[in-house]
Symmetry: D2
Subunit: 322 residues, 4 copies
C-alpha cells in the first residue's frame, strides 16, 4: 500500500511514474462530487451509486484522468493528499478539523525528523497529520485509554499507510509518558491541567506544548495551572474558517459555517529552575499588577477610615499605589 | 548555522544534546517579551535595551534556560521553530500570516520529499514554510521578478538555514516555469488567471494549485478562467484568527484582530482531455442550470407575448423549464 | 389586537395592568422550548404537542406566569417583543435576520416619527422592525411586485398589529416611488443600481440609503453606480452573530453558526448640484489616484520608448507622477 | 437645539422644511472626511484645519448641500442621525459600539413609549440610543455612581437634545432601582450577578434583561446566578462587525477589525413563584442530565467494586442510568 510519493517503506522514495498500481490509494470522485477512497487490490470491486468499478480497470491508468463504471459513469482518479485522507477517516469520536490540524502542525514546528507525543489518539485524524509532517525519519507517540477507539485509530492509520511512523500506546497518561526529550506534545483530553508535570517531563527544554479545549472554563483552568508551572510564551488562539461558493458571478460565503471547534492553547517548556512568575505574558503581568494595586488601595482606604474613626488626620500619609 | 534538529546539511540529522553551539540559531526573549533572533558567532555581541549579551556566554548553555546580559537582565534562550523564523524575517513586502501559511502547506499536501513551485517569492516567509515542510529530500522552486525583493528573500532564507532546500529564480513567470511534474504550485501574483496554462503544464496530473487573493474581484476573475481550464475541486476559503488574552480570571479575546489577509483558492490539475464543464463544483453547476432556466423562461415569455399579440392562444404549449 | 404597551390605536397608550385580555398577542413557551404566538380570542383553542390550551384560560392571567394545558403541561405566557414577532412570521421568502434588521434600523437613524421606504416587502419581517421603530407618528412605505408575497406580508403585519403604521404598494419600483422627502430608504432587490435616480428623488437631502446584498458582485456593481451618483459616506459592512451555549461550567460557542446573510451598504443622498467625485471615500480616492498614476507612468514609458526609437534622448524630460 | 425631525420639545414635531436654523445640530464633513458636530449659534465660529466657518453662514442653507470655509474649502452639511451623535460623544469611559447598541435596542424590544433602566451610564452613548428608541413618550432611567462620569454623560445628552427623555441618577444600584414595572433593563457593571434581585424587582413580568460582559468568567458567573433566579430564555451572543473598503474594482475587507467588545447576555424576568429549574435552556438541561448520569455511574461503579471486594456477584443488579 502506498500514497503517491510516500511509499509505505519510506516517504522519500518518489514514484517514477504517475501510473496507478495495485496497492495504491486512489481517491475516486463521481460527477456529483461523491468521493471514494480505495486501496487498489486485484479482482476487487467498488460498488457505488453510479455502478461498479473493477479495481483492475484502474491499474495502469494515470492519476488525474477518469475511469468509467460498468454503467458508463465517469469518475476522476486522484492521488489522495493529507486532507483527503483525514476527510475519509472512519469516525468513532469527534474528528479534528483541517484548519486546526494545519495550525497545530505549524505552531508545534514539526518537520521531517521531529518527535511528537499526542494524547488521546481518538480516531487518529490528527495522528495522520502529525505522521505526515514528521515522516520518514521522525516519530509520533500516541496514547489512547479506550481500547475500541485505539483499535479504530490503528485501522485508520494502517489503511492510509501512515502507521509505520507511529508508536501507539493503549494506556492512560496518569503515570506519564514513556518518552523524554520530545520536540512537541499535544493534549486533547478533558482535564489537561492534571498532566502538566508529565508534559514537562516528556518535552525537551523549549519544546512546544499545545492543547485543544472546547470550553472557556477549560482554558481558564489550564491557564491557572500554567501560572504555577515551568512554561512560557502562553498563547490562546482560535481559528474560524469561512468557505465561499465558487461561482464567479455570484461570489458569496456559504450560508452556514462551523461556529466552534475548540480553543488552541500553546506554551513552551522552560527550565524548571526558572522563576516562572517572571515569564508570564504581558497581559497576565498587567492583570496581576492591577490586582495588587486594588488590594493596596482597599487596605489604604480601610486604614484611612479607621484613622478618621479614631479622630486622626483625614489625609493619607502615603501616596496611593500606581 | 543550524536549526535545532535541522542541520544545514540534512534535516534528518538530529542534534545529540540540547546544548547551544557556535553556528546555532537562538531566540532570545527578555522579561518584557522582546525577541532577538541571533546566529551564535564567536566574539560577537548582541546589543539590546536590557544590555549587551556576549555570544560566547551562550555557548555551552542549554536551550530553555536563561542567560544574563552584562547589566544583569535575564533572557530566555529557545531553539527557534518555524513560526519564530517567519516572525523574524526582514520584510520588504507584505508577509504571509502563520494561519495562511499553515493552511496552505496542509491543503497542498506537502511532506518530506514533495516538490512545490511558488511565485512570487516576496520576502521569503512562505518559502520558509514550504522548505520546512518538504526538507530534506523535497524541493521548493520559487520565482520573483523584482531583483531587490529576490535578494532580500535569499538573505532571509540563508540566515535561517533553509536556502539549501530552495531553487531561486529571479525571473518573470510569463514564459512559464522551468519545472514539470511538481506536486503543488502556489501563486501570489496580481493576475493569476493569466498563468493557468503555465500552471497546468508544471503540475503533475492531480497536483494541487493554490492562490492567495486580496480582493473579491480577483477571486471572481480567477474562477471565471478556471471554468475554462482543466482543473477540478475548486474551493475558495478564508481563515480568521482570534487571539485571547491569556489571563485566567479575565479570559477574553484581544480588542483588535486582523480583519483580512486574503482569500485562498484551491484547485486540482486534471487531464486536459477531460471535459472540464462536467467537473465544476455543485454550486457552480446549480448556478449554470438556473441561468439556463432563466434564459428559457425569458424566451418562452417572449414567445407567448408574441402569440397573444398575433391573436393566438393565451396559454403556453410547453411546460416551463426548471 | 394589541402588543403590550403598543395598542393598535396608538403606540403611546400604555397598558395599565400586566393582565392578559382578549385581543392580546401572547407568546406561549412549553418546557421543551417550543413557542406558540397566539392572539387571544374567546372560545378558541390552541392545539399543541403538550395538549390543548383554551384561550379563555389565559384571560385574566398575568404575563410572566404559567398556564397549564388540559394535559397538565405548563406553558410560560409572555408579551411578545419585536424579535418574537419577527421569529414567528409566516415565511414565503428569505427572512431578514435580527442582527441585520437591528443594525439597519440603527444606521438608518429611525425613531418615532421617521418616514422610511422599503422595497421589496418580502414576508414583511423587516417591515415589522421598521414599523416598530417609527410608530406611532412615523410611516413605512413598502413596495412588493409579487402579489402572493404582498398578501403574505399584509397578513403577517395585520396579525401582529403593525399594519396600521405601513402603506403597502403592490407595485414595481421601475417607475420610482410615490413618496418624496423621506428620511430613509432600504432596498432589498436583485439589481439596486438600476434605481439610484428613483432613490435619490425619494430621499430628503442627507437622507440615509441602505441595501442588503448577498453577493460581492452586487456590491461591486452598486459601488460603481454610486460613484456616478449624488451620494456620499458610502460604507460596506457585514455582521456575524455568534451564539454561545448558556451552560456556566461549559461555556462555549455553538457548533454551527450562520456563515452569511448579506453585505450591508450605506450611503447618504446629497445635493445633485455637488461634484460627487469630490466626496468619494478615502479608500476610493486613494485607489483612483493610484490608477491615474499607473496610466501616467504607462504613457511616459511609451513616450520614452518612442523617443529612443526615434533616436532621441534616453532620459525623461519630466518627473514621474506619484 | 433640535435634531432634524426630533425637536427638543417633542420627537413627533416634524420640521417643515429642510432648512438649517439657529439651534440646529449640524454635522459638517470636509473633503478629507473630517467631521464636526456643531449646534448652530448666532455669531459663533467653528475653527477647522480647512479654515473658519461662520455659524451664521449655515443658517438658511439646506441640509445635504455644501458650505465653504473662509479659505474656500467646502464642507457637506448633514442632519446628524443617531450613529453620528454616538460617534461624536465626549468620551470618559469605554464607549459602546454601534453594532452592540443596535442589537441591544432590538433585543430589548424598545419602541416609542417603552421604559428602560440602564446602569452604569458611562459616557452616555448607549443612553442616547435608548432615548432615541423610546422618545417621545417613553423614558430612560440611568444610574451612574461616579460623579465625574455622571456629569460628562449629562453634558453629552444635553448637547444632542436627548436629555429630556432621560432620568439621571448619580447613585449606586446596591440598594436597587427607584422604578418598578419597567419594560427592559440593561446592566454594564463589573459584577452584575450581585444585582439580580434588584433587577427582578424593577422589571415588569416578562420584561427583558440584558448585560454586556467583557470576559468569559463574568458570563459564567452570571449564568450560575441566573440558574437560581426567576429568569427564563437565557441567551449569550456576540456580534462581530466587518467593514469593507468601498472600492468597486478592489472590494475587500479592511485590514484591521475590532476583535472583541463584549458578550451580550439576555434573559426574561418570570414570575417568582415559578420553579425556575424547569425553565433552563435546552443546553443547560442537557448538561445537568449528563452531570446527574455521571454521578449515578460513579456511585454504581463504587457499589460494584465494593460488592466484588466483598466476594459478591460481579454484575450489576440495576441498569445504568442514562
Amino acid at each position: 500500500m502506498s500514497i503517491q510519493g510516500m511509499s509505505t517503506q519510506s516517504i522519500s522514495t518518489q514514484r517514477e511514474a504517475n501510473m496507478i498500481a495495485a496497492g495504491d490509494l486512489v481517491l475516486l470522485i463521481t460527477l456529483d462530487s461523491k468521493e471514494f477512497l480505495v486501496t487498489v487490490k486485484p479482482e476487487q470491486v467498488l460498488h457505488t451509486h453510479r455502478g461498479r468499478f473493477q479495481h483492475d480497470s484502474l491499474v495502469g491508468q494515470t492519476f488525474g484522468a477518469t475511469v468509467n463504471s460498468e454503467l458508463g459513469h465517469p469518475a476522476l482518479m486522484l492521488a489522495p493528499s493529507l486532507p483527503d485522507l483525514m476527510r475519509h477517516i472512519r469516525r468513532g469520536t469527534q474528528v479534528i478539523y483541517a484548519k486546526d490540524a494545519a495550525y497545530l502542525v505549524h505552531r508545534l514546528g514539526l518537520h521531517a525528523g521531529s518527535t511528537v507525543i499526542e494524547a488521546g489518539t481518538g480516531s487518529g485524524a490528527l495522528t495522520m497529520a502529525l505522521a505526515w509532517a514528521v515522516a520518514p525519519t521522525g516519530r509520533v507517540y500516541t496514547y489512547e485509554v479506550r481500547s475500541d477507539t485505539f483499535e479504530l485509530a490503528r485501522k485508520n492509520l494502517a489503511r492510509v499507510g501512515l502507521l509505520q511512523h507511529v508508536d501507539m500506546h493503549c494506556a492512560s497518561i496518569d503515570e506519564g509518558f514513556a518518552q523524554t526529550g520530545v520536540d512537541a506534545l499535544f493534549l486533547d483530553v478533558r482535564e489537561p491541567w492534571r498532566y502538566l508535570a508529565q508534559v514537562h517531563a516528556a518535552l525537551r527544554p523549549g519544546g512546544q506544548f499545545a492543547c485543544l479545549l472546547p470550553t472557556t472554563n477549560q482554558v481558564t483552568d489550564l491557564l491557572r495551572s500554567l501560572d504555577q508551572s515551568p512554561f512560557a510564551g502562553v498563547a490562546v488562539e482560535e481559528l474560524l474558517l469561512r468557505r465561499y461558493k465558487p461561482v464567479p458571478d455570484r461570489l458569496r460565503p456559504e450560508d452556514e459555517m462551523i461556529g466552534h471547534t475548540g480553543y488552541l492553547l500553546f506554551a513552551r517548556a522552560i527550565s524548571s529552575s526558572i522563576d516562572t512568575q517572571q515569564w508570564l505574558s504581558r497581559d497576565r503581568k498587567r492583570y496581576r499588577a492591577r490586582q495588587r494595586a486594588a488590594v493596596a488601595i482597599k487596605a489604604e482606604e480601610k486604614r484611612r477610615a479607621q484613622e478618621i474613626a479614631d479622630g486622626g488626620p483625614k489625609y493619607p500619609r502615603l501616596p496611593l499605589p500606581g
